[in-house]
Symmetry: C2
Subunit: 197 residues, 2 copies
C-alpha cells in the first residue's frame, strides 16, 4: 500500500524510530479516529508556524522571548549554558535555578561534523561580551560526555576573560543508583567532590 | 509553550512512546524543514482517507481488495489466520506462503476486554462456512503467547467441522538464538518437534 509505505518512511526519520515502530505508528494512524489525526495535523502545523528561537537565549519560544527570558524576576547575573532545549526543561523541573539560560543547540563534534558555526556559540560569546558587568557567573551544563566536556573546556578558554566565574555542574553518584554498578570515573569524581555532612 | 505541549501530548498516544521520546519527536518537528512537516501532514491524511479493510481478508488495503486477495495466482485453498496486519507483511517477507490470509485484528483476551465480537472472528467463520469445499487448510498463525494459543484452540473447536485440516505454525528454536538462553517450554517443543536431517 503506497500511502502506508510513504507514512512509514516518514516516521522512520523520527529520532530513534526503527522499522517496526514506524510500522506500528502507521497502523496506529489507520486505527485512530478521524478527529485524532486532524488534531495531530493541526498540532504539527501549529508547532511549525509558531515555535521560533527566543531572541535572547535561543531556546524555543512561541513569542519573541521565551517564558524564562521574559520573566523579570529571573536573575540575569547567572547564565546556564545547555546543549538542548530539553535540558532547559529538565533544569527548570529541579526548581533550583533562578538565572537565565543559553541554548547552544548541540556541542562541537568533529566526528559528527558539528562545527563551532553550526551551534549558537558566537551568539553566546556576543551575549557574554555585551553583558557590561551584569554577568557574574556562567554555569556550563553541557552533557557529561566527550563532546560536552570538550565544550566546557572550550567555553572556559573562550570566555574566562569576560565573566568573573565559570562553573561546571557537579559530577557524582546519581540518586537511586547502585554504587557497585557505577563506572569508576564517576565514582572517582564523587569521592573527590565529597562534601561535609 | 502551548503548541509544543499539545504536540507532545498527541505523540504520547502513539504506541510505546514515553514522555522523553514524545519530546524528542516534537523537537524533531520544530527542526524539520517546512516541506517535511507538510509531507507528513499529507501522508497522515492520505492514510486516513485511503486505507480501508480488504473486503475478503480484513487486512488493510487501499482498494476494495488487498494485493494478496486480488492476486489470482494465490492459492485460495489455504487460509493463514493472523492477529495483525503486520503479521501478513512478516509472513509475505518469508516468500514461503502462496495462500491467502485472514486478519483477526487481535485475539480474544478477557483481561484486556477483547471479546469475540471485537475481532474479525464471525467474518472468518462466515468465510470458512461459505468456502464450499474449496478450503483445504486453515493455518493458525496467531502469536505464541497466552491469548494467541487460546485463540488457536478456540478456532480449532469452532471451525474443525467446516475445514478438512487446521494446523498451527511450528514452535521451535529461533535461528540465531542461544539454546542456553531459551526458555524450557520452547526448547521442549523444539525437541518434541525434531525432524530428520
Amino acid at each position: 500500500m503506497k500511502s502506508l509505505d510513504k507514512l512509514i518512511s516518514l516516521f522512520r526519520r523520527f529520532p530513534g524510530v526503527g522499522p517496526k515502530q514506524a510500522e506500528r505508528f502507521a497502523i496506529y494512524t489507520v486505527k485512530a479516529a478521524e478527529g485524532e489525526v486532524e488534531d495531530l495535523v493541526e498540532a504539527l502545523r501549529a508547532v511549525k508556524s509558531l515555535v521560533k528561537y527566543c531572541a535572547e537565549c535561543w531556546n524555543y519560544s512561541e513569542g519573541g522571548r521565551c517564558s524564562v527570558c521574559s520573566d523579570t524576576a529571573r536573575d540575569r547575573s547567572i547564565i546556564c549554558v545547555v546543549e538542548h532545549p530539553q535540558d532547559v526543561a529538565a533544569i527548570e523541573k529541579t526548581k533550583t535555578f533562578a538565572g537565565v539560560y543559553h541554548v547552544l543547540h548541540g556541542a562541537i563534534s568533529p566526528t559528527e561534523g558539528i562545527t563551532p558555526g553550526a551551534i549558537k556559540l558566537k551568539e553566546l560569546s556576543d551575549r557574554v561580551k555585551a553583558s557590561n558587568g551584569i554577568l557574574k557567573e556562567l554555569i556550563i551544563a553541557t552533557n557529561p560526555d566527550a563532546e560536552g566536556e570538550a565544550m566546557a573546556i572550550y567555553l572556559t578558554r573562550l570566555l574566562s576573560k569576560y565573566v568573573p566565574k565559570i562553573t561546571r555542574i557537579a559530577y557524582g553518584v546519581p540518586l537511586g543508583g547502585d554504587i557497585d554498578y557505577l563506572d569508576e570515573i564517576t565514582l572517582g569524581y564523587a569521592l573527590k567532590g565529597r562534601v561535609k555532612i
